[in-house]
Amino acid sequence: MPKLHIPASVGVALTLVLLTSLAAWRYDGFLSPYNVHSALRYYSMFNIVAVGMCFVIMTGGIDLSVGAVAALASVVSALASPWGIVPGLLAGLGAGVVAGMINGFVVTRLKILPFIATLAMMLAAKGTALLLANNQTVSASYDTLFTTLGQGDLFADYVPDWASADDAGILGQALNYVLGMPTPFWIVVLVYVVGWIINLSTPFGRHALAVGGGAEASKLMGLPVNSTVFGVYVISGFCSGLAGVILAAQFGAGQPIEGIGWELVSIASVVVGGTLLSGGQGSIGGTLAGSLLLGILYTILNFENGMGWISLSAYWQSVVRGAFLLVVVILQAKINARQGVRT
């Protein structure tokens, strides 16, 4: 009899639906446009960084520099923002890509463990960000459209008049709900679609998984191991750069000391999404689910505080998040052991 094989990401997606339903039933306004839109706006940065992290982890690597690189990109893009939205965006992305290229170079050419290479980048990016920012936050320009990248609602102006009327009905409300999504949400959608396509339908995506499954074997099969590994760090740098641009745009300032702990949040998202840290396996869809799950958990904790039944200080939240990660990794370990997957 064939074994029932449920991918971990399906389990995560089911948990996601279940948690959301429970929360919608328990808390007033949990699914209200205001709550959903502001939560998605804020979590967009973590969602994006998690995509890059997922690619890196597929190859068996890790990128500890994502938070510091995002902070650096936020400073660079804020500095470039007076020249307009496109220069601001490109400057932030460029900073991220350069950092990613350096990571890729150090890992593939100098053969330094990803853990250490990206740890060094974390320090270097933080130092560079502080230097460029002169040890303080850098105001982004409000004269250009730059800040709409974080604060805007891309399609909000395209809501048809009839849908905004009081008697627009359920369809109108839904249209308002969806078109009112914040700009960072649409950026997240774009990043995940592109990431998903790269993962499933390009040679690069298959190579990344093959390299993670076994670098030696991949090399013997003639796969471009070095350029693939280099590529995933560039993707991760790009994602961090994009997150940094949104950070600067959303809060109207480049923040050299932001991003502390982002690497761990994104690693947690990837792991919760069912990607093995040993490489050779991974799913962008799972990462999205994991990333959303952590975000929803955090929002639920906030609402639970608001209910006044229990008073969860901000400190409890990290305890709960740690406990949640604990449950997930133990469950994963048990599933993997049953399915005979190496961990």
Partner: protein, 326 residues
Amino acid sequence: MVDGKTWIYGKAWLRRYGAFIGLILLILFNVAMTPNFVSLRALNINLTQVTQIVIVAVGMTLVIATGGIDLSVGALMAIAGALAPMIFMEKLFPIGNLYLAIGVGVVVPVIVAGFFGLFNGWLITRFSIQPIIATLVLFIAGRGLAQVSTNGDQQVFAIPQFQAIALGNLFGIPIPFQVWIVAVIAIIAGFILKKTALGREILAVGGNERAARLAGISVRRVKFFVYWFSGICAGLAGIISIAMVSASDANLVGDGKELDAIAAVAVGGTLLSGGRASVVGTVLGALIIQLVQYALIGNGVPDPVALVVKAGLILTAVWLQQQEHA
């Protein structure tokens, strides 16, 4: 031009003695360039700034020797640092005698930190979870536990007898007492690694876990030990950290120390993939990072540049030690 053989030999030599030579060069540089470097005060500043990192890094060395990593050390420092004042200020239970209270207030938090270390070991051995993820759990939750138990408030205390753990003198030698604690821990760890069967088993597990298991080594026992030891070291570092400033703030104690410790281990020449480790190297590595920072800041280089230099230092050190395998 040097021929290939000389170059390979030179690189191996550099890997072996590089950290030591680097340290001497740094001291010479500081003597020549940094104002007031040759003074008891500068010595004590450097020593007190480096002890917490050394003590955590010594525990980390044993963990990394098995091919693992311990991200939870900073959080465990915060837990020990939060628990200790509650005990010696007799908030939890009456003790009566001040010295007894301090004794219990040091020993119990260190033991508790050791138990959290065992928890890491349990996750890693029982569920085969990768160390970086297993210890990520306490990295996230551990500091939260410390903050919850103190409500996020700072605990302030003025007890000279407790402060002496960090800053007292031993036999009138004008070196802060914490340095002796660190020396004892480093000697114990070095002894375990070099002179005991356990030490050889640690290196065997890091070199090739499967082979070690087939050779009859209890991999489980070895891993439990290194994470327990790392927890104990973190607990002690937490105590020293709060004794230094006579205050305990769960938000600050041990913050970022896991990265400093890993950097010290890396610069010290311990192979990060496991199987080869040097406690002396780790101590030298921590001193090198400290002296580089002191030299930069003492000569008016801004803090952010010091960060970038530190990054370059870590990469260079790791690259050099890898040349032996290249």
